[in-house]
């Protein structure tokens, strides 16, 4: 355990309560609930600095993603993260396109884009029940 992950983390430099090495240790020791409750995992920017530099090949960024997924399932995700997920599942994009956008695009010589998306509701249809749990936390 060399702590290279922590040494190269750009977030640790700004906020030393965020510590990739500690997440790995706590996860190995089984303290998942404690990690999730602290809310600190959401400060990870998924920049991959830790994972790229880890001399032991520990997939730290992937661990962070798994923890974040678990955090959302157990109601430990920031409201913004949940909102963003709901917008994408409803519209197929983070910034849904409306007629006004298409008008602006047209003026710039850019092609119009669809203003609605049926596909996502079909894609996620059967998961609606588990989805509704994720949605509200």
């Amino acid at each position: 355990m060399c702590r290279t992950c922590t040494a190269v983390c750009p977030i640790t430099r700004l906020n030393n309560s965020f510590n990739p090495f500690r997440f790995v240790r706590l996860a190995l020791l089984g303290y998942i609930e404690e990690i999730l409750e602290s809310g600190l995992i959401w400060l990870c920017s998924s920049c991959y600095a830790c994972q790229e530099k880890c001399p032991h090949g520990v997939r730290i960024s992937d661990l962070m993603t798994a923890l974040k997924n678990q955090g959302l399932k157990t109601g430990h995700a920031p409201r913004e993260v949940r909102l963003q997920m709901n917008i994408i599942k409803d519209n197929g994009r983070i910034y849904p396109i409306d007629e006004f956008d298409n008008k602006k695009r047209g003026k710039l010589g850019l092609p119009s884009l669809p203003t609605s998306c049926e596909t996502v509701s079909t894609l996620f249809y059967e998961d609606r029940e588990s989805n509704s749990q994720l949605r509200t936390g």
Binding site: E80, K89, D101, L110, L134
Partner: protein
Amino acid sequence: MTYAFFLGCTIPARSRGYEMSARKVAEKLDFELRDMEEFICCGYPMKASDQVSSELMGAYNLALAQKAGLDVCTLCSSCASYLTEVAYHLAEEGPKRDAVNTQLSRVGLEYKGGVKVRHFVRVLFEEIEPKKIKQHFKRDLVDLTIALHYGCHYLKPSGIFDNFDPADYPKSIEKLVSMTGARVVSYAGEQNCCGGPLLPVDEKTALSLAKEKLDAVFEVGADALCVVCPFCSVMYDSNQKTILSGSATNSGFPVLYLTQLLGLAMGFEKKELGLQMNVVKPKELLKKYFP
């Protein structure tokens, strides 16, 4: 050469200058970016919240490209990285791909593997002869000093990118910028993240991270920062005023997309490259070219 053009969410709504300049550059270099109306979000913005659904969205897009018989070209580094990652995970037949295909069958699609995903810059770097790019240059950008921001997802996680440009010592963007005659300058913390993904969660930390870089490039005397991802541009360009309020670096530091720089060298007009939509106006920087 034809690619399925993957615009993603941010570019068509918020980074239209990037889209415009990329289309111009592609047109000049004679490769087709085919618009695909059915593409949806790449899935990346949902990876942290629901990896299963995000992978399904990625696979849906890949399957659409496959149906059209095309590889994918993206402008956003996160779209490039995530779609590459999904393609990497679904490259081989097996239970993982079967599970995704069961879901995709609801919309009449199947992903069989084999679609290649490339960032626009990777296409320029790998697929087009430097000579061919240079022959279209009409303006010499020799008076410009440019700092580069590769960002995180253009080359990372490095395992999925066939090492086309090593993430530790990348050279692809530098090569393209140098072709224009502009001088590339290095600075401290070149590899650091823009902080974009943190913006909705912890604005203060996100902006501090972006400020470090803006201060560093200002200090080495760069005229502009060159980016290849709309998220990075949102941080350095759109949020610059907030970041630098009360700081010495306060005069407004231009942030240009690589495609805008290349388009400039190719002789396009300001408006053709969407330069009027950059938040920090590069007016002073470009007055030599647009008197």
